[in-house]
């Protein structure tokens, strides 16, 4: 029964795509529509699995020896559903975007394929299928990143992305192979059945490898460096898909392998996850708060949010292993909820940034501004996204971060010193992350959309076409739901938690109703009522401001106060760089910005300054310290190899033959 539904994602994409491009009558509409349809199917399927019974599908002929094997359980279902939801919004948006940007046929074809790949990853029921879907996802995303390959930065980012993602794939490959070898089977179910007779050594190895491999896909430090390069350079709908859906796959891998199959591990597992998460969160948000490229800022904020999610997962693991399943359930809920809400507001953010990019051709916040009057809808959309990303009340990210904090402060501290020390520090990390996140988002929204335009391009901005607005509206609606009515998601979360018994999922999770209460610990909040009360309070304040208006002269519209001068030029405004300058100075030791100021004096007198040029370069410090040496080593080694390349075909054939012989001898 499920065959028809379940096989559909990949098949039509392969069929329809090229034909659409060939006929090239409105390829964008076809490609976008297809993406949206795939998304809808994924969403429906995911929900049906979450609330119905798990679905299986075997296609023996598609793959030798093992065949393709798809098992969809609530855990996979929620990821499929999230990916699908993102894909719907992005698909609708992509119609207008691809028209405006005149996409070539190749990305048009690849977009649905990419979505199909992402939908297959969580549905994979066996190691082989998983790896296959993973590679499909990685390859298609790489193609999409390279779709504007005429620009040099894009090519550079593409190479970087290719190397990193394959590196991560190697880790995952080894880990899963070890797992299936030890688990005595290819299917996850078989592995789960006899995972318990797995000794600690391989467990630890698998844990570390998966954390590294999946972490690189989720953009965790230190393997994050591809993310702030690739996400901004990709076309915006693709950035949205990658940043809101693809990174989730890394988290999915960690949950599936480490939390569902291997957990509960020793204490240091949870601690490792927490450290990875905290470092990634703080580092990502720090980079975001000094970034001046709108899309790069959003990409760094993705690293930040993935870090928070990982931190929550680590907390769940640590709490379970230290015997506090109830609190662990809260942490786990926080992780899942934050993952979903991040998908919502990050989609919206990248789509809004995309329509700014399409309207002005600008990503540089220092040149933007004044869009609130020119692109009102887009401005509102980005505002909703920024509010969600900053984790303030009325924002999509608030409830999940609140849950995370609750789980951290209610950890049992008289049991294990490790817990008692880890929790305060991670509260500090989370708090610093939220604080800097607020700063970053205020900068992005305020400098980018408010005030007056800082360049002619921003001056001439026009509102985005209907389909783009429609796509954004969907994502915005999701954000609003997360912000004020998370109660709608509580059944989903309950069902998903139920399949993660090893990390406290089976104990009673938080009851998300109109008033969100936590079992076991006294703590409650109600985002919906809070929003309502705030609106009432604001109306009350406005009413207060009407007091004594009988005596008032009529409202006047006057020019800005220019300290006595006649007018202010837009260049007098604060830019993103100057806005972030205090933060940059505070965190100088970590950010290590490369700034230099050149003052040219007049020839007549050194007291008269002719020109001052200030240049600051924000390079990713981790990249500089950690990657550059590696890259250099690899290049030098490649130089050695290069000697062997003489260009003679015979020699190459000889190499091949020699290699074959060696293989035969070894394999004998």
């Amino acid at each position: 029964m499920t065959t028809t539904i379940d096989a559909s994602p990949a098949a039509p994409a392969l069929g329809e795509g090229p034909r659409a491009a060939r006929r090239s009558i409105d390829g964008p509409a076809l490609s976008g529509g297809l993406t949206a349809i795939l998304g809808a199917i994924g969403l429906a399927l995911g929900l049906s699995v979450i609330f119905g019974e798990p679905r299986q599908l075997r296609i023996g002929w598609l793959l030798p020896l093992v065949g393709v094997r798809l098992d969809l359980d609530p855990l996979g279902g929620v990821f499929v559903a999230a990916t699908g939801a993102v894909a719907i919004a992005v698909g609708i948006y992509a119609v207008g975007y691809a028209r405006r940007e005149h996409w070539a046929r190749f990305p048009l074809v690849t977009l649905p394929l990419f979505v199909a790949g992402m939908l297959l990853v969580p549905a994979a029921g066996s190691v082989t299928t998983f790896l296959l879907a993973w590679e499909l996802m990685a390859a298609t995303s790489l193609i999409l990143v390279l779709s504007e390959h005429r620009r040099k930065e894009v090519r550079c980012a593409g190479v970087f992305y290719a190397v990193m993602t394959q590196l991560g794939f190697v880790f995952i490959l080894i880990a899963l192979v070890v797992l299936s070898a030890a688990g005595g089977g290819d299917a996850f179910t078989t592995i789960e059945a006899n995972v318990d007779n797995l000794t600690q050594g391989p467990r630890n190895a698998i844990f570390l490898l998966t954390v590294l491999g999946f972490g690189s896909k989720a953009g965790l430090l230190p393997l994050h460096a591809w993310l702030p390069k690739a996400h901004p350079e990709a076309p915006s709908p693709v950035s949205a898909l990658m940043s809101a859906a693809m990174v989730n796959m890394g988290i999915y891998g960690i949950i599936r392998i480490d939390l569902q199959l291997l957990a509960p591990g020793p204490h240091w597992w949870g601690l490792t996850l927490m450290i990875f998460g905290a470092v990634s969160a703080v580092f990502g948000v720090l980079q975001a708060s000094v970034a001046t490229d709108l899309k790069q800022l959003l990409a760094y904020s993705t690293t930040e949010n993935m870090g928070l999610i990982t931190l929550a997962l680590g907390a769940a693991t640590l709490l379970t292993s230290s015997g506090a399943p109830t609190v662990a359930a809260i942490a786990l809920t926080a992780a899942l909820l934050h993952l979903l809400s991040h998908a919502a507001f990050k989609t919206l953010g990248f789509l809004a940034a995309g329509s700014v990019l399409a309207a002005t051709g600008l990503r540089d916040l220092d040149k933007l501004g004044g869009l609130a009057r020119r692109m009102p809808v887009t401005t509102v959309m980005f505002g909703i996204a920024a509010l969600g990303a900053s984790g303030l009340p009325l924002g999509a990210g608030f409830v999940s971060e609140w849950l995370l904090l609750q789980s951290l402060i209610h950890a049992p501290h008289d049991s294990i010193t490790l817990v008692a020390l880890a929790m305060p520090l991670s509260v500090g990390a989370v708090a610093l992350t939220t604080g800097l996140g607020i700063a970053a988002m205020v900068k992005a929204f305020g400098v980018g959309f408010l005030a007056r335009p800082r360049s002619a391009a921003a001056e001439a901005a026009r509102e985005a076409p209907k389909s783009m607005l429609a796509g954004m509206t969907l994502a915005a609606a999701a954000c609003v739901v997360f912000a004020i009515a998370p109660v709608l998601l509580s059944p989903t979360l309950q069902r998903v938690l139920a399949v993660l018994p090893r990390v406290g999922g089976d104990s009673a999770g938080p009851q998300i109703e109109t008033i969100l209460r936590l079992p076991g610990v006294a703590g409650s909040i109600s985002p919906g009522l809070l929003a309502a009360a705030l609106v009432i309070a604001i109306l009350l304040a406005l009413a207060l401001a009407r007091w004594g208006r009988r005596h008032r002269p009529p409202v006047a519209v006057t020019p800005l106060w220019a300290s006595g001068a006649d007018s202010l030029s837009p260049r007098m405004q604060y830019t993103a760089t100057s806005f972030a300058e205090p933060l940059q100075r505070v965190f100088d030791d970590i950010l290590r910005p490369d700034t230099n100021v050149e003052v040219t004096h007049f020839a007549e007198s050194q007291y008269l300054v002719e020109r001052v040029s200030y240049r600051t370069l924000m390079a990713d410090p981790v990249e500089q310290r950690f990657y550059t040496p590696v890259v250099q080593a690899v290049t030098s080694w490649a130089q050695l190899v290069r000697r062997a390349h003489t260009g003679s075909v015979h020699l190459y054939l000889a190499y091949g033959a020699a290699g074959l012989l060696i293989v035969l001898l070894v394999a004998r």
């Binding site: 005596h551 002269p553 006057t558 106060w561 006595g564 001068a565």
Partner: protein
């Protein structure tokens, strides 16, 4: 903490307030005892500035009558203009007045502001403050004493 002792020894150094003068104008907003001032130096010799400063010093303490100097004309009710209006300060003076929300009043401080004083017909001089903007209250004197300034302010604040 030798300062505490200092504070104790000094005590209150503010001079006793003479009884309130008759109101020069009705308080514009109908609220007495609150007057925010934005000071503009239109080309003064800074004598008046010194006296204004000391009018707000602990000795004379104009704040006890509800007068306060503010940073932005948007926050102000009155323009405190000193000195003759020079060519360069004419437009800024007008801009500042425009930036003050209605109802607003203009107080000209010192002989220069009132009648040009010693700078009348100087080559860089446009004229008195009254020539540029409508003046409501005039404080003569070169420079006026803090007591005079405070009396004038009180006649505006009505306190």
């Amino acid at each position: 903490m030798s300062w505490i002792g200092k504070i104790g020894r000094v005590g209150r150094i503010v001079e006793p307030a003479p009884d309130a003068p008759e109101a020069a104008i009705v308080p514009p907003t109908g609220v007495t005892g609150s007057l925010q001032l934005r000071h503009v130096d239109c080309g003064s010799c800074n004598g008046c500035e010194l006296e204004i400063t000391s009018a707000f010093s602990p000795v004379y303490d104009a704040e006890r009558f509800g007068a306060r100097l503010v940073a932005s004309p948007r926050h102000a009710d009155a323009l405190l203009a000193t000195g003759v209006v020079t060519h360069n300060m004419r437009q800024p003076l007008l801009n500042t007045l425009k930036a003050i929300p209605e109802p607003r009043i203009v107080i000209a401080v010192g002989d220069c502001a009132v009648n040009g004083g010693v700078f009348t017909k100087g080559y860089g001089v446009v004229g008195t403050v009254g020539d540029v903007v409508p003046v409501d209250v005039e404080i003569p004197g070169c420079p006026p004493t803090p007591q005079q300034i405070i009396t004038a302010l009180r006649s505006v604040t009505g306190r």
